[in-house]
């Protein structure tokens, strides 16, 4: 049997409905909840005495929106076309820079476009640059493609520092989003108004990208991901498929960059540099490249880590790194892959059987994590923390990072937790395999 080669996570996602896309009721439900949550979230943190929104929450939510667009557009390459790009921020960034210039033109009246429509121009800027660079990069695929995109990313970072007129050098370029032109009469002074503009454009972009997956080009992109050679013997030039897919993904990345520029009113070369390209990859991968919504999940999670955990810890990047490595090794289909793998079990009504085994792995997992976090934080307070004059405070009591006891406790948690987790993980595996085996034999009996 060839079945082992395909983990269930893949099989679940890969199924594209024949003919009419039957909107799976669970999926529709999840999408609706997500949208309602996105709309309602700022009001959960609204301060009704001062009548102010939480600046932190609105800013974080806005970030989640634009990062979702970036991650989804990145997944048009990685997940849908099997193209491993290392320069995706280039198109996000160019969208951002162009938007700043459009805002300036709109603001001084020489180009009076309503703010709501400016992201279209941002997208066109991304598209234009993606056509130029895509022409070069998509001549190749696989490793050669990745290397060309790495070069493109570096080239653009350098260009951003060289051409002051457009990119503004180190300081970047800035503008004012209150250009006085709006379709609906909004001023877009308050961040909450911009947030809802971001929600709208995120929804529009996501729907457009979902639509694209169900067109001839979208399907042929999937096909050339799976087997680029066969595509040629069906009349298609896989190079053109790659090129068009690349260009369109640049368009949506540009929209993301436009939202970024409107939100922050300043764009520096950070918006097109390699770390952001890497972030796009992280978000798409951790969320799950195989499912359409995966990258959104990744964008939300990474943004939470970025804005939430980074406030609490100097070492938050360590945690993102460890999360990424664990995902690559243990859950190559991302969080969505993990969720979808449970599909058959849930549908068979057997999920209850997993509850106790789950508790049994989660408890040692938490101990192991606590040990790891303890070690990292102790080390970080010993070095960076000391330099910043901070002290480690845990449950209200100061912890002396030079003492032996905290280190010993963390080490015991880490080592003991890991051993314990290993044992429980193996027994979880047996329960899981048993359930899967039952389901399979039931299906073949039916």
């Amino acid at each position: 049997m060839k079945t082992e080669k395909f983990p269930l996570a893949i099989s679940a996602q890969a199924i594209t409905r024949p003919g009419i896309p039957r909107a799976n009721s669970t999926q529709a439900w999840v999408w609706t909840v997500a949208l309602v949550a996105a709309i309602a979230m700022p009001w959960l943190f609204y301060n009704y005495t001062t009548h102010r929104h939480s600046g932190f929450v609105v800013s974080m939510l806005s970030q989640m929106g634009m990062m979702s667009v970036l991650a989804l557009s990145y997944n048009m390459l990685l997940g849908q076309a099997g193209l491993f790009s290392l320069c995706h921020a280039t198109f996000f960034g160019i969208g951002g820079y162009a938007t700043i210039h459009f805002l300036n033109l709109a603001g001084d009246g020489s180009f009076p476009l309503p703010l709501e429509l400016i992201p279209i121009l941002s997208g066109l800027a991304g598209l234009g640059l993606a056509i130029v660079f895509g022409y070069m990069a998509t001549k190749q695929r696989a490793t050669a493609f990745a290397m060309i995109t790495l070069g493109i990313g570096e080239l653009m970072t350098t260009a951003a520092l060289m051409f002051h007129h457009f990119f503004g050098g180190e300081g970047g370029v800035n503008s004012n989003r209150m250009i006085g032109h709006s379709l609906f009469g909004f001023k877009y002074g308050p961040a909450i108004q911009v947030y809802y503009l971001i929600v709208a454009w995120t929804v529009i972009s996501a729907l457009a990208m979902l639509f694209l997956t169900r067109t001839p080009l979208g399907r042929m992109a999937n096909a050339s991901r799976d087997n680029f050679e066969r595509v040629q013997f069906m009349g298609y030039d896989p190079r053109i498929v790659r090129f068009l897919q690349f260009a369109l993904s640049g368009f949506f990345a540009g929209i993301g960059g436009g939202l970024y520029a409107i939100t922050y009113e300043i764009v520096t070369f950070d918006a097109l540099a390699a770390p952001l390209s890497a972030n796009a990859l992280l978000m798409a991968y951790i969320g799950g490249t195989a499912a359409f919504g995966g990258p959104i999940l990744g964008a939300v999670l990474i943004t939470l880590l970025q804005s939430g955990v980074s406030l609490m810890s100097n070492s938050w990047l360590v945690y993102v790194g460890v999360l990424f490595i664990s995902m690559v090794i243990f859950a190559p289909n991302g969080i969505m892959g993990l969720v979808q793998a449970h599909g058959p079990i849930v549908r068979a009504g057997r999920f209850g059987r997993l509850l106790v085994p789950y508790v049994r792995v989660i408890v040692p997992g938490l101990v192991m994590m606590a040990g790891f976090v303890g070690m990292v934080e102790l080390a970080s307070f010993l070095t960076i923390g000391a330099a910043q004059g901070k002290t480690l405070v845990l449950f209200g009591s100061k912890i002396d990072v030079h003492a032996v006891l905290p280190w010993l406790a963390a080490l015991i948690c880490l080592a003991g937790g890991t051993l314990w987790f290993g044992v429980e993980a193996r027994s979880f595996r047996r329960v899981w395999d048993g359930l899967m085996g039952d389901l399979k034999s039931q299906r073949s009996a039916a």
Partner: protein, 250 residues
């Protein structure tokens, strides 16, 4: 007079110093079922790779319906009406069976690289895909990712994808390799059905399949044609018996 569908003229292919195909000339008539046989390493698959544009020729020329196609990329040759299957199953593993077949139909139905056409609304396309599923006996597996199909079903899908685009010349590379007897019989039946009215060229090792299907057999040994003709004549040819069918005759 019957026309020639595919014509090879003094075709040669070398990899470095190795001459894999030596001066092969072959005319395949329209509507013919033509089998290419020969021992392992005779260059049969290489010949397919040359015809379909996967490899470039070292010498000679190839004509498809009287138009030169050597030097063209595979997708252009395909658009001119030639389609091929692969010895190693070459399907889209992560896509459903339905999507595999629909993708194979897209170009011939004029969709090109459209990114504005909603596929789910294309009635004729979807109906044709369903009809092909039925013809291949794969209707019940429509939603299954192709990589999870049984081997025989994957081979059937491979053949289906090869003929889906409506090509007039079909190249099948060992369509029954690795199949059981029953599976082979089913595959032969399928090939016979779907190749009606088309020109079929196949590489095959199973002599039962070859003599059951082919109108003309060409024997390739060390990159050279040593015999070509109707099955009975080829079977009786002493050179063929010596080089290839020896074991069978004995």
């Amino acid at each position: 007079m019957t026309e020639t569908a595919l014509s090879l003229r003094n075709v040669g292919k070398s990899f470095g110093q190795m001459r894999i195909i030596r001066d092969v000339s072959l005319d395949i008539k329209k509507g013919e079922r033509h089998a290419i046989i020969g021992p392992n390493g005779a260059g049969k698959t290489t010949l397919f790779n040359l015809i379909s544009g996967r490899f470039r020729l070292s010498s000679g020329e190839i004509l498809l319906n009287d138009t030169r196609v050597d030097g063209m990329p595979p997708h252009k040759i395909n658009r001119m009406g030639l389609s091929r299957s692969f010895q190693i199953t070459s399907i889209f593993q992560r896509m459903s069976v339905f999507e595999n077949l629909r993708c194979a139909l897209l170009w011939s139905m004029g969709y090109r690289y459209s990114f504005w056409t909603p596929l789910w609304m294309q009635r004729p396309l979807n109906d044709r895909t369903h009809a092909m599923l039925a013809e291949l006996n794969l209707t019940s597996r429509a939603d299954t990712p192709a990589g999870l199909l049984s081997y025989a079903d994957q081979r059937a899908l491979e053949i289906g994808m090869t003929i889906a685009g409506g090509a007039s010349v079909i190249l099948l590379d060992e369509p029954t390799a690795g199949m059981s007897n029953t599976e082979t019989d089913n595959a032969v039946e399928l090939i016979r059905r779907v190749s009606t009215g088309k020109t079929l060229v196949m590489v095959e090792h199973d002599m039962k399949v070859v003599f059951g299907l082919a109108d003309v057999i060409t024997v390739l040994v060390y990159g050279q044609v040593i015999a070509s003709g109707p099955p009975q004549a080829v079977r009786a040819n002493p050179a063929v018996q010596e080089a290839y069918l020896g074991a069978l005759a004995a």
